[in-house]
């Protein structure tokens, strides 16, 4: 899922001008407040964050072992496991499953990983009909849009936007009442569930020792997607594994609290295969597609810990940059601080070297992250590689290089400061510079710059104390 235009700042400009950022900012603030309230309400929160972090890091350190165990458990339960090196392979596998089973219609529950690989486009190109059943994703699909948040895809839309959309596309009356709008979607989607041939779900966690897929939803659509159609396909990133049910429960303790401030999401589904003898319902076949798509490369690199992410969205909600630019500015499936690390590490810095710079390194994300991922540290290692690969603007590399030389030659440094004072006094009026030349204009576009001191501190010190 790539979003035009091609530069971060181009997308920022577009979305700030169109106003879609405003609802994002307000909703992100609210969700952050819910997270804080949920932590206050749960005395074990800090302990459980440590526990969840341990589970995630232990899993990553032993991922090969747990993936193999998970796959053999799924097979022992009668399911089929498919390994996909990249998005094209995953999409081809799913098209093949559809083809083998005469599938024409597909319902989907919410899945960011299928956004990552553009699964819908791939299946539609093969002539299949796809319906998103998560309310937010349904709205995204209906409006030909893209998600702007990993757990709340239509954070950028107001209920007025959604009212207009439903009136136009669902042939219903105009309403701005969330309950009425939900009812409209519900009635529309119920028919889709009952007639679909295949259900595709994502995967919040995959439990290795039982071969169980855990789905966390608030709408029950995950439950219908995985039980009503004949075929159920789960698509999962290879890092979604946890070793045991107990470990999954540790992650569940923090996931909803961090994401939405709920103690637990409304539905937590544990899917361990297709319909068994005597089951009243359930699919005839269960497939799991395990996707790499750059993850094993990430696992071997400096940003490996980003794979510990449990996709709660807390870092997006708290991020002061995300709140000002919204989700689409990040240009790919995963926005916010997590996206600024995940996207370049999965897809490479050549195309995505801007993203690690879309941060002030304020650290609010680490504080909010339920598994304490040190995102700023990874942004810094990515920046270091981006700089080494030559992605920094030439003027900046040049300026820093010259500054570094001056800063290692104190006499030169003192001369530089003195020169700055002289030049500054020529440019300033009443102690302020309001129009700086060249790249300085990036500062003075909207801020005045204080005049550099004619007598820097070291000169004042020397005048008072001697050398």
């Amino acid at each position: 899922m790539t979003i035009e235009p091609v530069t971060f700042l181009g997308r920022v400009k577009r979305d700030r001008e169109s106003g879609v950022v405003i609802p994002v900012s307000e909703a992100a603030r609210r969700m952050s407040a819910y997270r804080v309230a949920a932590s206050v309400d749960f005395p074990l929160m800090e302990e459980m964050r440590d526990r969840a972090r341990e589970v995630r890091l232990h899993t990553l350190a032993n991922l090969d072992k747990y993936l193999a165990q998970f796959a053999s458990q799924v097979e022992a339960n009668g399911g089929q496991v498919h390994w996909a090196a990249d998005g094209d392979e995953a999409n081809a596998i799913i098209r093949q499953i559809a083809d083998d089973n005469d599938v024409r219609t597909v319902v989907k529950s919410k899945s960011m990983v299928t956004e990552e690989i553009d699964l819908n486009e791939s299946l539609e190109a093969a002539g299949l009909s796809i319906v998103e059943t998560d309310l937010g994703e349904f709205i995204v699909q209906l409006s030909g849009d893209k998600p702007s948040h990993i757990i709340a895809p239509v954070l950028h839309k107001t209920r007025y936007d959604i009212g207009e959309l439903f009136a136009a596309k669902l042939d219903r009356g105009f309403s701005t009442d969330p309950a009425e709008l939900t009812q409209m979607a519900r009635e529309h989607l119920r028919r889709e569930f009952l007639t679909a041939d295949m259900g595709i779900s994502g995967c919040n966690m995959a439990i290795a020792d039982t071969g169980t897929v855990v789905l966390v939803t608030n709408e029950g659509n995950g439950r219908l997607t995985t039980t009503a159609p004949r075929i159920h396909v789960t698509v999962m990133g290879m890092e979604r594994i946890v070793p045991t049910f107990g470990d999954a429960s540790a992650v569940l303790e923090v996931l909803a609290r961090a994401g939405t401030g709920q103690r637990l999401s409304v539905y937590t589904n544990f899917v361990s295969g297709s319909r068994r003898h005597g089951d009243p319902d359930g699919p005839d076949a269960f497939h799991v597609v395990i996707l790499d798509n750059g993850r094993s490369r990430t696992l071997g690199g400096q940003e490996a810990e980003i794979l510990a992410c449990i996709r709660c969205g807390a870092c997006l909600n708290i991020c002061p940059v995300y709140r000002e630019v919204g989700g689409h500015a990040y240009g790919f499936t995963y926005p916010g601080p997590i996206g600024a690390v995940v996207t370049p590490s999965l897809k490479g810095l050549d195309e995505w070297h801007e993203l690690p710079y879309a941060s002030t390194l304020c650290g609010a994300c680490v504080e909010a992250c339920p598994v304490r991922i040190d995102i700023p540290k990874m942004l810094l290692t990515l920046r270091s590689r981006a700089a080494t690969d030559g992605h920094l603007p030439g003027w900046l590399t040049f300026a820093i290089g010259r500054y570094a030389t001056a800063a290692t030659h104190p006499r030169q440094f003192r001369l530089l400061l003195k020169a700055g004072g002289v030049v500054g006094s020529m440019m300033a009026r009443d102690g302020w510079i309001s129009k700086a030349p060249s790249h300085g204009a990036n500062w003075t576009g909207a801020r005045d710059l204080p005049q550099p001191a004619k007598q820097p501190f070291h000169a004042r010190w020397k005048a008072r104390h001697g050398a």
């Binding site: 000002e324 630019v325 920046r383 801020r447 010190w461």
Partner: protein, 255 residues
Amino acid sequence: MPLSWFQMAVQLFVTCLVDSFFPEVGEATVDVLESAGETVEFPADQTCCGQPAYNVGLRDDARKMAAHTLDVLDATDGPIVLPSGSCTDMIVHHIPELMAGDPRRAAQAERVAGRTRELSQFLVDDLGLETVGPGCGDCSVAYHPSCHGLRNLNLRTQAESLLDHTEGVQRVELPDAENCCGFGGLFSVEMPEVSVAMMETKLKNVEASGAAILVGGDVSCLMHLGGGLHRNDSAVTVKHFAEILAGRLDNAHDD
């Protein structure tokens, strides 16, 4: 703090931005330390800790500047005090990381890091002071805790507490105080649109607080916010907390 520090002078690392743009903050820092009974020394060859280069990813340049800083500071003894949370964070956390590959430099970095303190941290946590200095007389202030001090050095209360114990200072709450101001070092000129948007959000809260002076502990953020306030023709001014404690409200900037 180590007992030996009681007999030692404080080494002032003033930071390149204070040196070049805000020498009055350096002078206020000296005043405050002297009011606290400290002798202050200024290692003359200090320049820049390397943070700007480190934060944009130019690690070789950063390492050069960091090595120079270590040489200058390691030639002294006693506490090293900075009127900046982010430069302190650089010396305490990032320079040791940068030097990890070189055993001699790594040991030097650890020695220097162990002696380095941000100003409010030194006054409150090491010296155990409630406040120092004459203060500014009657003034209404809002405090913006800059991110690196707040989160990386855990400076959650120190500067606020110094201000609250200073006679005449009325500190009002700054809404969303812990939200980043958008400076972010070179971020402020690499992504000016985003930086300024974040600044305007912060400044709305500053105006809403009703304070006459916005106080902080990092002149970098104050330069950004003060530049925005001045451009917006606001009546609010910015000061480092050292200036408030030292009672230097009419600090001449460009003499």
